[in-house]
């Protein structure tokens, strides 16, 4: 690769920044520029809620100190790109400046979905994705909000509910489906989360849709109306019905776009030397059977960045995701998943084992094929080891083997109750087979760790 080429990355989220870092590790001479209008320095989008709730300051969300970029010769440009001339390889900024590139990476991320609801652009109505959204939310909730309505039952919605709870603002939560996050979570897990939300005094309305957002005389929200005709007075509306690639400035150019920027498994777009990664990229076909053409998760963004870094450094690699994993936190309940656990499955082809603690906040599910080989797990309220399940699922371990070794998979802190023993017992009684039930360790007995 020529040494004085200029790689320009639009977007300093996890995908763009990981790409820049990997490329720098592999190539000492290439010139790298990262452009962002959102913030000069990379920050962790997932931590915005903690800034709002006073757990952290904004600078704490920045994973690298400011000197890091200069030291690694990654140039940062704070600007919004207005348009791109792909022929002359020239970026035009909103400020009127230009920048030439040799290779371009589009990693512009997402923006909150808006479905054309009446009143969706009123003051006090917003999504939560960017730093600017956070600042807007601080402004919108500074005073006078007696009730908030959140529309859309996903991860950002529940984060927003938690943020509003910090300000002691009561929340009504409209979810179109019959269960919370029910396009991802199986029924029991969805109900577990719903119960916990209600425990936190969130007014959760399932099977309820937004019809209209109603304005006061100052173009500010004063209420919403649901599809069932109920009017709910509120001074803040959170729109959290998913996100969509943020690529408006690329529409009507020669770049091939559908929902996102169309790419192959080398992240190559239809234009040579132009790549796209992260939330805004859309694969021509799904990267794996259990994946989607647009991957909008922190971890996939990071993997896209890692892989493209290698590609731009001249390595012959293509994107090949490994075993799926993900995590989230629903108020106080942590959630992890490894492998494939869809919301619904064909009982003819898939066996499900589900265990839930009597307290209703801790659960474990394992799906197996008809031969009993593990397909994936969901765990709520306790922690499991990534490496363990990466190996077990990759090697298609027998379910009974996974359960027998579950003590090795436990990732809860020391002295925590050994839930894996209860899970082993439950599995043994449901599925029988050759399952070893772990004994309590001396320490667990000593400190009375009970489930």
């Amino acid at each position: 690769m020529s040494s004085n080429r200029h790689v320009v990355i639009i977007g300093n989220g996890i995908a763009g920044i990981t790409c820049a870092r990997q490329l720098r590790k592999l190539d000492d001479t290439v010139k790298i520029t990262v452009i962002s209008g959102e913030s000069t320095y990379f920050f962790s989008r997932t931590a915005l809620m903690y800034v709002f709730m006073g757990h952290m300051k904004f600078e704490h969300t920045q994973p690298y100190e400011n000197w890091f970029w200069e030291k690694n010769r990654i140039e940062l440009k704070e600007a919004w790109v207005k348009s791109i001339n792909f022929t002359s390889k020239n970026l035009l900024f909103q400020s009127g400046e230009n920048m030439l590139y040799d290779e371009l990476v589009i990693a512009t991320g997402s923006k909150p979905n808006k479905f054309g609801w009446p009143g969706e652009d009123l003051q006090g109505v917003q999504g939560l994705y960017s730093k600017q959204d956070l600042e807007l939310m601080e402004e919108n909730t500074a005073s006078g909000v007696k009730r908030a309505v959140i529309v859309g039952g996903g991860l950002i919605g529940i984060e927003m509910a938690e943020m509003l709870a910090y300000k002691k603002i009561p929340v009504t939560f409209l979810v179109r489906e019959s269960g919370f996050w029910s396009n991802v979570l199986p029924k029991e897990e969805s109900e577990l989360v719903s119960r916990h939300m209600r425990e936190h005094h969130i007014d959760l309305r399932l099977n309820e849709e937004l019809d209209e957002i109603i304005s006061d005389p100052n173009a500010r929200v004063k209420a919403i109306r649901t599809k069932s005709g109920e009017e709910i007075e509120c001074q803040f509306v959170g729109l959290t019905a998913g996100v969509t690639p943020s690529i408006d400035f690329l529409r009507n150019t020669e770049l091939d776009i559908n929902r996102g920027v169309k790419v192959d498994f080398g992240f190559q777009t239809n234009i040579p030397n132009v790549y796209s990664i992260g939330d805004c990229a859309e694969f021509h076909e799904v990267p794996a059977a259990d994946r989607k053409p647009v991957e909008q998760v922190w971890y996939t963004g990071r993997m896209h960045g890692e892989t493209l870094g290698y590609i731009l450094a001249g390595k012959k690699v293509t994107y090949k995701p490994g075993i799926w994993f993900n995590s989230a936190k629903f108020l106080d309940i942590e959630y992890q998943t490894y492998g494939t656990v869809p919301a619904r499955w064909d009982a003819e082809k898939v066996k499900s084992f589900y265990w839930e603690h009597a307290g209703g906040k801790i659960s474990f599910r394992m799906l197996m094929d008809l031969q009993g080989k593990i397909l994936g797990v969901n765990n709520f309220g306790f922690r499991l080891r990534h490496e363990f399940f990466d190996q077990a699922i990759r090697e298609a371990w027998d379910g009974a083997k996974v359960i027998s070794k579950l003590d090795k998979a436990d990732f809860d802190p020391e002295f925590f109750a050994p839930y894996y023993i209860e899970i082993q017992k439950a599995f043994k009684s449901q599925f029988g087979g050759d399952v070893k039930v772990s004994k309590k360790t001396f320490i667990q007995k000593l400190f009375g760790a009970s489930v």
Partner: protein, 514 residues
């Protein structure tokens, strides 16, 4: 609940106000008998003569009493110094015992009443504030509003608290004669425990232990549902109360040397001082046991326990400084500096203190056996410099006074020579590490923000690396606050304990070993 908590704060503030106002109570009258009974034999005659102008006069405040004392005493001493009569100069400071003995005040008359009104109310108020915390809320750690708080984010309340603590330490270490009322206040308690009157150190120990207890209760509430945090909090509360506070006093009651069995050299920097060794050697079997126990802890206890469990076995489960930091200091843990620059300073400073402590101790021991033939004066100088700069200023004034400014582990991170020793073992020969859970890190930064030792935990976690750092005290809060279950404190195989992962688990695009 809110009402109980508000009353709690009110009671705490009343207790604090009474405690703070106490030095201004009472008056001071000195007589010749009192001077004779409070000074060493060799100084009795001189002191009785020097202080004669003060006899019979009633001073209405500690300020007027102590300044009169200073005038008279200095007049005598300065004259001798001017004439270079060094042998006749009185180097002992009698201001504390004389102020104590000449005091007549309501506190001295009814010490238990004032104990109740100051420390008692503060403890009661603290418990009333802490116990109802989070009642009716689901289990889970809430760091809500920490950075919006005037107390916990270097706001005005934090500044006042820090200033108060610093002032308290300065008075305690260098001007104890001003707080004789408080010393009288805890004297009956001291008589009960050890049969001896209280010193300012007994006063300090009492407050210290109660602070750990009340704020330990706060920890139980804050980290409810988290067994690791609760157990280690119970552990520091136990070791402070039993080992640091009660057992040494009871030893004294039994005519044994005052000894804290869990205090380890070089944190316990005077362990090998000549007067300590003499005490051990002159106290029969018990003294000998103490000496051997102390040495065994240093040469076997520290490396062995640290090999198996990391330095946390001491720093966040046993140590008194750690105990205060983990309870009273917990609200300030997020104020530690996470920058690489701070880490560089940390390594230089803490290891310098360790070297200084080792050199000083080596010199002391050589001198002990050679009858102070080698550099005897230098050793004494070193002792007083170390005692002042490290023992008092660094460990006390800065160590605790700076909680609201630089976080709760300033001393442990930058100054403690024992932490440096434990850290060297932990870094190079230990089974302890914080395990990163594969690729689950989302770089949110909760772990780094709430690390009291200023470790940038996220730096490692987001790379899928295990965290192996000499400074980690294993408090486990990074693991507790992680929203994605990424961190776990573990003791395990020393193989691959320090791992470099070029590609994080879950991405099969790149084959590292292919």
């Amino acid at each position: 609940m809110k009402i109980i908590q508000s009353i709690g704060i009110l009671l705490f503030l009343i207790g604090l106000a009474v405690f703070t106002a106490m030095p201004f109570l009472g008056n001071y009258t000195l007589t010749e008998e009192l001077v004779l009974s409070s000074t060493k034999d060799i100084h009795q005659e001189k002191m009785a003569e020097v202080l004669a102008p003060m006899y019979g006069e009633t001073y209405s405040s500690n300020f007027s009493f102590l300044s009169a004392y200073k005038v008279n005493f200095n007049e005598y001493n300065e004259a001798l110094k001017a004439e270079s009569k060094w042998d006749e100069v009185i180097w002992d400071d009698y201001s504390l015992p004389l102020a104590q003995t000449s005091l007549s005040s309501p506190v001295r008359d009814s010490p238990w009443l004032f104990f109740g009104l100051s420390i008692g109310l503060a403890v009661l108020g603290g418990l009333m504030y802490n116990l109802p915390k989070y009642r009716g809320e689901p289990e889970g750690i809430k760091n809500n509003g920490i950075f919006h708080s005037a107390m916990k984010n270097r706001g005005w309340m934090g500044m006042i608290t820090g200033a108060y603590l610093i002032l308290f330490y300065i008075i305690l270490y260098w001007f104890p004669a001003y707080i004789v009322n408080q010393i009288w206040m805890v004297t009956p308690l001291s008589m009960l425990l050890s049969g001896n009157p209280a010193s300012q150190w007994f006063l300090y120990g009492t407050i210290y232990t109660l602070a750990i207890t009340v704020m330990g209760v706060r920890m139980f509430r804050k980290y409810r549902g988290n067994k690791y945090q609760q157990l280690r909090t119970a552990s520091v509360m136990f070791f402070q109360t039993a080992f640091a506070f009660l057992i040494p006093e009871i030893l004294v009651l039994l005519n044994q040397p005052y000894f804290d069995f869990k205090n380890i050299w070089p944190l316990d920097y005077d362990f090998f001082y000549d007067y300590q060794i003499d005490t051990f050697l002159s106290s029969g079997g018990v003294g000998m046991f103490m000496l051997i126990w102390g040495i065994l802890l240093i040469v076997i206890g520290v490396p062995t326990f640290t090999y198996f469990f990391g330095k946390r076995w001491y720093c966040s489960w046993v140590c008194g400084c750690g105990g205060l930091a983990e309870t009273l200091g917990d609200p300030y843990r997020q104020l530690s500096d996470k920058s690489v620059k701070a880490w560089k300073y940390e390594r230089v400073i803490i290891h310098s203190v360790l070297v200084l402590a080792v050199v000083m101790t080596a010199l002391t021991i050589v001198n002990y056996f050679s009858g102070f033939a080698l550099l005897g004066n230098v050793t004494n100088q070193l002792h007083s410099i170390y005692g002042f700069a490290i023992g008092s200023v660094f460990a006390g004034v800065i160590g605790t006074g700076f909680y609201p400014f630089m976080g709760n582990r300033v001393w442990c991170r930058f100054g403690c020579p024992l932490a440096a020793y434990l850290g060297l073992v932990q870094r190079f020969k230990s089974r302890f590490r914080i395990t990163t859970n594969g690729g689950q890190c989302i770089s949110c930064g909760n772990c780094s923000t709430h690390c009291e030792m200023g470790i940038d935990v996220r730096w490692y976690a987001q790379r899928g690396q295990e965290i192996v750092r000499s400074s980690c005290v294993g408090c486990g809060v990074c693991s507790s606050v992680c929203p994605r279950g990424v961190l776990k404190l573990e003791n395990g195989s020393t193989e691959n304990r320090i791992n470099e992962m070029p590609i994080i688990i879950g991405n099969d695009s790149i084959k590292i070993n292919a």
